[in-house]
Amino acid sequence: MNAFPLSHAGLAQARDGYRPGWPDTLYGTLTSASALALAPALATGRGVALRTPSPQPSPARGEGVKGSAACAAGSLLLLAALLLALGGCASPVKQEAAKAPGSAATTIPLATRPGPPGLSDPNSPLSKRIIYFDYDSSTIKPEYVEILRAHARYVATTPKAKLMLEGHTDERGTREYNLALAEDRANAVRRFMRAEGAGEAQLGLLSFGEEKPTQPGQGETVWALNRRVELVY
């Protein structure tokens, strides 16, 4: 029992040097550099919304912002503007950039991927593309049944639609077990959608285990947001 004394004072804090896909600005703190990047975008009058994370799992807020895929999928104008300003983003966003008339600002059209209509309509269940799970559980919770049913119906009636189900866990537990658990979660969603009529070939499965948290730090609020399956068209 005489293990050496390790310091774990930092356990409750966000991890140093930890930068998942979310830029700092999404947490409400604008650095001077990112504020500069944001200003022209605001000037164009396009719908820039500064979203701060809610303490409860809110499926809509994670839309299109996922780890390293953010470059291709950033659906928030703010994010796109930021990434362009940082010069770190690949062509899909840059190609669509245009000079706004009468200003030096560069506007970036909202990056979209082919997906169901209603994707950006907050009143449509299709706009919700993340569902959350209890700890060490792959059981689909009742509150997500309507969302999954809507997506299954869309996929079933749209032969061209392809949907990738990406499973994730929180950081607790061993990495390989979490890889299997995340796979189980994605599999549970696939079974549900198959039963609701989605075609086998239309559904892809991917497990990231605990490797791609959307939220840094620790604590139940953070962990709850990381235990998820993302529906990616």
């Binding site: 029992m1 005489n2 293990a3 050496f4 004394p5 390790l6 310091s7 774990h8 004072a9 930092g10 356990l11 804090q13 966000a14 991890r15 140093d16 040097g17 930890y18 930068r19 998942p20 896909g21 780890g67 390293s68 953010a70 470059c71 940082l86 010069g87 770190g88 690949a90 060490d136 950081e171 607790r172 537990g173 061993t174 990495r175 390989e176 077990y177 890889l179 299997a180 658990l181 796979e183 189980d184 599999n187 499965l205 991917l206 497990s207 990231f208 285990g209 490797e211 791609k212 620790q218």
Partner: protein
């Protein structure tokens, strides 16, 4: 790093993954060692500086420092600080043992380095019992300039073995995964370093996760899981050439590789047949044999050192627990019963115990379990400790933990008394795997 970032970004935008420059992929970020824990009962030993014989200026490598640090890390030895030492003996023959007796040293290591005309070095050292005057070792090791540090580790192995009766583990190596976030996203690397954290070399770099490095029994290859192309696959990579082969990329999970002790098979977790199950891949014939068949999760296989059994984590009983089964597959027997989370087993080299991740009061810690008595001892005190791996001599366990909210590696002696922390100045370090003994 700032200088090279532009080129790095451009390179990363082309393929999702690139192979680092193989053997020449020397990485600057070394692991820094910090020894934690008491040294009670540690034997006093002096490692006198190794002089360069007939040479001008200092020796090209401070061998004595490397040896002393190796010995200190085990917790069994307490090396004399250099400033407390009498003048350096001019040669092994010129040692005055009474100078060291006065300082209450049990043992003394003295040596010298001679430069040969062919550019090689000859490292001559002796290990003394200070009281009896007996020489417990006296030998000469040829070494290239680049290998001098390695030669010092060899000497530490010999000293440790002569004084404890157990083989040293100082010439073994570590494999581990690092992760850093930059403006261009995540950069994950798989690295191999000396057991003291020096000489790190990147063997794979990726923008996507890498995990579960596993050493082949001959220490020449690593199997690992890569998410490149956003799909798990198991690769086997030859360390000296950088050449690699994708050995499993079935639909679904391809993960948790574990070499059989004879190096002929790879146990791994696949979900191609519906849910995560353990399979054995024959590396010669490429025949795949399914070993488990249960709707629950089965993963994290680990071979017993004699190759007869496979230990693994299974969720079949509700909570994750460790089970074992014959290596050919068959009925599984539950091994762990205490607590609601026991996983990621790894067997000691003598096959008598295993280390695992266990949850105690909501904290994930490393525990050592005696397989005969089922007695369990906690080895770590963190909250998210994981990925334990035995040193090749079974005396220590390396694992991943957090320090000030950052992923670092920690080493603890199997008696739990002494530990070290290995960290990098930036980014996370995780997924350690200690190499088998060098051959």
């Amino acid at each position: 790093m700032t200088v090279t970032r532009g080129r790095f970004v451009r390179r990363m935008l082309l393929p999702l993954l690139f192979l680092a420059l193989g053997a020449s992929g020397v990485t600057r970020a070394e692991l820094t060692i910090e020894i934690v824990g008491g040294q009670e009962g540690a034997q006093p030993i002096a490692v006198a500086p190794f002089a360069l014989e007939g040479g001008v200026g200092p020796a090209p490598e401070d061998l004595a420092q490397v040896i002393a640090t190796d010995l200190a890390r085990t917790g069994r030895f307490k090396p004399l600080p250099r400033q407390d030492m009498p003048p350096t003996p001019p040669s092994v023959e010129g040692v005055e043992l009474r100078d060291w007796r006065v300082l209450a040293m049990n043992n003394l290591v003295a040596g010298q380095i001679k430069r040969r005309p062919d550019g090689y070095y000859e490292v001559h050292f002796a290990l003394f019992d200070v009281y009896s005057g007996e020489q417990l070792a006296n030998m000469s090791l040829p070494s290239s300039a680049a290998d001098l540090r390695h030669t010092a580790h060899r000497i530490a192995d010999i000293v440790y073995e002569r004084l404890t009766g157990l083989p040293g583990a100082f010439t073994s190596r570590l494999a581990y995964v690092t992760s850093e976030w930059g403006v261009d996203g995540q950069r994950v690397t798989l690295r191999v370093a000396d057991a003291d954290g020096h000489n790190p070399q990147t063997i794979v770099a990726s923008k996507e996760p890498l995990l579960s490095p596993a050493w082949s029994p001959d220490g020449r290859r690593l199997a690992y899981v890569s998410f490149e192309n956003r799909q798990t696959a198991v690769f086997i990579q030859e360390l000296t050439t950088g050449r690699r082969e994708r050995v499993a990329s079935f639909p679904g999970l391809n993960s948790a590789p574990a070499w059989s002790p004879d190096g002929r098979q790879l146990a791994l977790t696949l979900s191609k047949d519906g849910n995560p199950e353990i399979y054995a891949l024959d590396l010669g014939s490429r025949a795949l044999r399914r070993l488990t068949d249960h709707p629950g999760i089965d993963t994290e296989p680990a071979w017993s050192p004699d190759g007869s059994e496979i230990y693994f984590t299974s969720g079949r009983g509700g909570d994750p627990q460790i089970y074992r089964m014959p290596a050919q597959g068959g009925e599984a027997t539950r091994v762990t019963f205490t607590g609601d989370y026991n996983g990621r087993p790894s067997l000691s080299p003598d096959g008598r115990s295993l280390v695992m991740v266990t949850r105690v009061n909501g904290q994930f810690r490393i525990a050592l379990m005696d397989l005969a008595s089922h007695g369990t001892r906690l080895l770590s005190r963190g909250g998210l400790d994981e990925s334990p791996s035995f040193a090749p001599n079974g005396s220590m366990v390396i694992y991943a933990t957090q320090s000030n909210g950052r992923g670092v590696l920690a080493v603890v002696s199997t008696d739990g008394k002494v530990g070290q922390r290995l960290s990098q100045d930036a980014g996370e370090v995780r997924e350690p795997a200690w190499s088998p003994p060098p051959r």
